[in-house]
């Protein structure tokens, strides 16, 4: 199998499990309704809904991976006000929940950048969700212009990436999210420069630091 197919197959497997989980909850709810136990049915339906939403998100992500890997020109560059992009990402990350940590956002670039708003937002939401899963108390989302590049950083105060993770971003066994992030960075090409994904430990909060640099 090619690395891309590998990544996609793994994601489909997870989505399939999520759907089976939802199905099981729906069966519980149906039985509870038959038994006249609304108090049991409602939480089961809520759990089913959550599982379906998660599976749908995963499938959306896989479609993105497929599109980013396959199409000749998959990014659509548009002028994007960076403050708006950060606001969208915050809303979506907060909606998806993920731990009790707080997200602190700081947009230090007050202007427009040429990028693909949707794929960059997807990538940052994914990075924030990962950070929220591992953070102890706090996650920082920061955007700034550095050396002519838009640098968007997601940092947390968790234990950091495992030793292998940073290098895994470029290996065939990387997760869907990292695979997408790396492709997104690479596909943003302007004036002869390509974007870049940097993963490191010991960032501003001492934990993992995910850095997307766009030309």
């Amino acid at each position: 199998m090619t690395p891309t197919v590998d990544v996609i197959a793994s994601g489909i497997h997870d989505a399939k499990n999520g759907m089976f989980n939802a199905l099981a909850r729906i069966r519980v709810a149906v039985q509870a309704i038959d038994d006249g136990e609304a108090g049991v049915a409602l939480p089961a339906l809520t759990e089913a809904e959550t599982a379906v939403v998660a599976a749908a998100e995963r499938l959306t992500k896989l479609l993105s991976a497929y599109r980013l890997a396959g199409a000749e020109n998959p990014v659509s560059l548009l002028p994007v006000y960076v403050g708006d992009l950060i606001e969208d990402v915050l809303i979506r990350a907060r909606e998806s929940g993920g731990g009790g940590s707080e997200i602190v956002a700081d947009c230090r670039y007050d202007g427009v950048w040429i990028c693909d708003r949707e794929v960059v937002a997807d990538c940052l939401v994914n990075a924030l969700q990962n950070a929220l899963r591992h953070a102890r108390r706090e996650v920082h989302l920061d955007a700034a212009e550095i050396d002519g590049q838009l640098v968007i950083t997601v940092a947390d105060d968790g234990p950091g990436f495992s030793d292998q993770t940073p290098s895994r971003a470029s290996s065939e066994h990387s997760g869907v999210g990292l695979f997408i992030a790396q492709r997104i960075a690479h596909l943003h090409q302007r004036h002869g420069h390509r974007g870049e994904l940097r993963l490191a430990n010991g960032g501003p909060l001492g934990g993992a630091c995910f850095e997307l640099r766009l030309p």
């Binding site: 020109n73 002028p79 708006d84 969208d88 909606e95 947009c107 202007g111 949707e118």
Partner: protein
């Protein structure tokens, strides 16, 4: 529809610039909404989203035609439209139809909803983009954030929209400069640059428009900016350069239909009607319900001497595009094409279908055109009186290519060489010469007057030389 000032009043002194700052009160209950989606469940879901934001007056439409009907009945403040509208039609087509025919004021917010990631490719390419788009699935919170931004932007540009709507382009450009310098204008710097380029084109300041579009292309070669550059070059009669630029656009954005229209126009400017007709025919296959494009194709086919295709297309347009009745321009075009093709029967039928009320409502130039075509239809003897009545108007007036060709045809029929020469010389001295040349030559040729036509050409060339020296 809320007037710009009323809309602004909803946000006045309370609208905070920049993102991540929410509008601190709810303006949504005052606005009128139109939700366009062919799926009832999606319409209902969007309606619930709007209501959860405080919206109250939510109208719905399940087809493009139903949407047009609602819009004509009462202009909404916000249109939320699904990209896929069934029957092979899209929200983008609806937006382009509305914006290109001035059927949708700039003050109305248009938000496209799409499950198609490919739509971003369309947005990044085209000139007539929605105010924003949102990818399904989305939460009410995201919709609210997008709506906040779009409405804040409408408020920011309200004076500019007003000036542009009234054709006060110089004042509109001054307003854009002021907006560019405004502290709260940072999110809109690129929109201002784009609006400036478009306004310069509308104002006919071709060289300035060219510079403005080039400055955008230097930031990023957006297909719409390149198309603007090509449009400015075309107007500066730099047709070969315009053609090269638009070819580049089509290579990277094959779904950018308006760019094909522009390419066809440039082909016509270069006198290459064959290629223009071929381009538009292929495009019409992909957009079978775009009647305006079929009208253009009919005109190009006629210029290309393909009267049969021209006639078929006009009849098709007249049969289908008649929400507000058959437009008089279509009847005139059919009459004109029938006469050019020697189809007296169709010409008679078309003319007889004009009611006395419609005749009474004709604009002066339409009246003149109909009179001219009637004179030709009546023939050399019976039409003479009618022709003599309108001759003076043709001698005096500047006129469109079509009307000029009507005048030449009539003048040649009634052996009025003075008028035929005058109109032909005027036409062949204008920027429209490449478009009209072939038709004029054929008209003289059909009267065995090729030598006379060459004399007209020589007179035009001599006059041009005289003006140069």
């Amino acid at each position: 529809m809320l007037e710009a000032e009323s809309l602004a009043a909803l946000f006045e002194d309370k609208a905070l610039p920049g993102a991540a700052k929410r509008i601190p009160f709810n303006p949504y209950k005052e606005l009128r909404y139109l939700v366009v989606d062919d799926q009832a469940a999606s319409r209902q879901s969007l309606k619930l989203c709007i209501q959860s934001m405080g919206g109250f007056a939510v109208d719905q439409a399940d087809t493009i035609n139903a949407a047009y009907h609602r819009i004509r009945g009462q202009m909404p403040d916000v249109i939320i439209c699904d990209y896929i509208l069934g029957s092979g039609r899209t929200g983008q087509q609806m937006l382009e139809d509305l914006r290109s025919t001035d059927g949708l004021p700039d003050t109305v917010a248009f938000l496209m909803v799409t499950a198609e990631r490919g739509y971003e490719q369309v947005i990044s390419a085209v000139e007539l983009a929605p105010d924003d788009y949102i990818i399904k699935p989305f939460s009410p919170e995201i919709l609210r954030a997008r709506m906040d931004r779009v409405i804040r932007k409408k408020v920011f540009f309200r004076h500019f929209f007003e000036l542009k709507r009234h054709g006060k382009f110089d004042a509109a450009l001054v307003e854009l400069d002021a907006l560019n310098n405004a502290e709260d204008g940072k999110p809109y710097r690129f929109d201002i640059l784009r609006a400036r380029s478009e306004t310069l084109l509308k104002a006919g300041r071709w060289a300035d428009a060219l510079d403005s579009y080039v400055s955008i292309v230097e930031i990023h070669p957006f297909p719409w900016a390149l198309a603007g550059q090509a449009r400015a070059l075309q107007q500066l009669t730099r047709h070969e350069e315009a053609s090269d630029v638009i070819d580049g656009v089509l290579a990277v954005a094959p779904g950018y239909f308006s760019a094909y229209d522009l390419k066809a126009e440039i082909c016509c400017d270069l006198g290459n009607f064959d290629e223009a007709q071929h381009l538009l025919q292929e495009l019409a296959k992909r957009t079978p319900r775009n009647w305006q494009r079929k009208r253009t194709l009919a005109t190009v086919a006629k210029l290309n001497g393909d009267l049969e295709t021209a006639q078929r297309l006009i009849e098709e347009v007249m049969a289908h595009d008649q929400i507000a009745g058959v437009p008089i321009m279509d009847r005139i075009e059919l009459l004109r094409t029938a006469l050019a093709g020697g189809n007296q029967e169709l010409a008679q039928k078309t003319l007889s279908e004009l009611t006395s009320e419609e005749r009474a409502a004709l604009a002066p130039d339409e009246k003149l055109t109909i009179e001219c075509l009637e004179a030709v239809m009546e023939g050399k003897d019976a039409g003479r009186k009618r022709f003599d009545r309108i001759r003076a108007d043709f001698m005096r007036n500047e006129m469109s290519v079509d009307r000029a060709l009507d005048a030449i045809r009539a003048a040649l029929l009634f052996s009025d060489l003075e008028l035929a020469d005058r109109v032909a010389e005027r036409l062949l001295s204008s920027d429209e010469a490449p478009r009209a040349f072939r038709a004029v030559r054929e008209m003289f040729g059909s009267c065995d007057m090729e030598d006379h036509f060459r004399q007209v050409q020589r007179a035009v060339a001599a006059e041009r030389l005289k003006r140069k020296t």
